[in-house]
């Protein structure tokens, strides 16, 4: 497959930066670190240059790399002690911050599943493939998240199964 040129890379950066940033915020309770993850993911993309013309596969790759970058960051002890979302009140509106904190009360894997299901509209099968998990595991995690975040996730909620 051909190497993706600069213009395509820039287009991808414009298109998927919001997604990467949102996933990072789901995993890390810290805006500065989420920005770092955003940078790291794109540097990784430029370095590795995953050769695929299939944009869905590329998107899945970006999601996996983002989650892995968040995990690596979290393992660094000193990172865990940095300021949290509420210390950046001017950067995220109170309602959004509250909602993010509610989602962040879920286990890490569940947060990503909730995001990929409700916001990116992936099916359970697709989420299982992206995260390298069993479909039943994803389905159970989603059901637990729904019970816990009932009010947040209601409105037009229908069963997505394949």
């Amino acid at each position: 497959m051909d190497k993706i040129g600069t213009e395509k890379t820039e287009e991808l950066i414009r298109k998927y930066s919001d997604m990467i940033y949102r996933i990072a915020l789901h995993n890390i309770g810290n805006i500065a670190d989420a920005e770092d993850v955003l940078q790291d993911v794109w540097f990784e993309y430029i370095k590795r240059n995953p050769q695929t013309e299939d944009e869905e596969r590329l998107k899945a790759w970006l999601i996996r790399v983002t989650i892995n970058k968040c995990r690596s960051l979290y393992r660094l002890f000193w990172r865990r002690n940095r300021e949290s979302l509420e210390d950046h009140t001017e950067l995220i509106a109170p309602e959004q911050r509250k909602i993010l904190e509610e989602v962040r009360s879920l286990p890490k894997d569940s947060r990503n599943i909730v995001y990929l299901y409700y916001y990116e509209s992936y099916t359970i099968a697709e989420i299982a493939k992206i995260l390298g998990k069993n479909q039943n595991t994803v389905s159970s995690a989603l059901q637990r998240a729904r019970r816990k975040l009932k009010e947040l996730l209601e409105e037009g909620d229908e069963e997505y199964v394949k």
């Binding site: 890379t9 915020l25 920005e35 409700y118 229908e158 997505y160 199964v161 394949k162």
Partner: protein, 276 residues
């Protein structure tokens, strides 16, 4: 994307512009450093290949339309040229966002079928894709240069328009007009369903434990059931393609779809045909 407080909150969260700009600049720097050493030979080779593809596509579009009309255009769906001689296989079609559920009215079942659309022809200035008995959702295909898009991503709508740039030869390069998902939804109360289709819909939905308790009739065949459901979904769908040309004239064609088969892994093969 489902609409609730969570998704509405996330809509407002955007990556900081500064961080995005930094990443863009880094990408630019990196690519410039890598590609400047290749010289012009690569560009010449790529341009020659693109020119060959353009000429072949133009030749095919003029000769396969059946008549040498001044404004013939051909319709390509997911790499298959569609005509009115019979159904043309589109190969494996990705289905996205399949859903089943139950509300006060009864069982319902939805599916989104992913297609890539492209119109090829001389002098095209604009193409509008409209749909009946279903809706479109943009599937975020990379937009080619020199095309402007109307009714853009994350929207669900009944029509999408792409306007071509001034230099129409430039855009006849095989880049699709749109990646569009055809979104269909059936309810067991829909009057147009036959009894067989209604039964298949209910049985399919019932087979999901969280929706119908996993209760199915004897001899239930999930794939056969789903095939009946997909047939019911697609047979009423009409995609109308209206093409405008440089001289102000326009032409329309209508396309219909059908589901050929679904295998044990849920891999779906569809076909399409022009009817007018």
């Amino acid at each position: 994307m489902l609409s609730n407080r969570y998704t509405k909150a996330l809509d407002e969260i955007k990556a900081p512009a500064e961080a995005v700009e930094k990443a863009r600049q880094a990408a630019k720097k990196q690519e410039t450093a890598k590609t400047s050493s290749l010289g012009n030979w690569k560009k010449v080779f790529v341009t020659a290949c693109l020119a060959a593809v353009m000429i072949t596509a133009l030749f095919l579009s003029l000769n396969l339309s059946g008549k040498k009309a001044e404004h013939a255009f051909s319709v390509i769906v997911s790499a298959a040229e569609i005509d009115d001689h019979g159904f043309t296989s589109l190969g494996t079609i990705k289905t996205v966002g399949g859903k089943v559920g139950k509300n006060e009215a009864g069982f319902f079942c939805g599916e989104e079928f992913n297609f890539d659309f492209l119109c090829l022809g001389e002098g095209i200035t604009q193409v509008t894709y409209s749909i009946e008995n279903a809706s479109f959702r943009f599937s975020e295909k990379f937009a080619a240069e020199d095309k402007e898009y109307y009714s853009l991503p994350n929207a669900k709508g009944s029509s999408f328009t792409v306007r071509y740039g001034e230099n129409s030869e430039k855009i006849q390069n095989g880049d699709y007009d749109f990646g569009l998902r055809i979104c269909t939804l059936l309810s067991e109360t829909d009057e147009f369903l036959s009894e067989t289709e209604r039964r298949a819909l209910c049985d399919y939905c019932s087979s999901f434990p969280s929706v119908g308790g996993g209760i199915v009739p004897e001899g239930f065949d999930r794939i056969k059931c789903l095939k009946t459901v997909y047939d019911a979904m697609l047979k009423r769908v009409r995609v109308k393609i209206n093409v405008c040309f440089e001289d102000g004239s326009s032409q329309s064609k209508t396309m219909i779809f059908c589901c050929d088969s679904i295998d044990q892994n849920g891999v779906t093969v569809c076909s399409a045909k022009l009817v007018s």
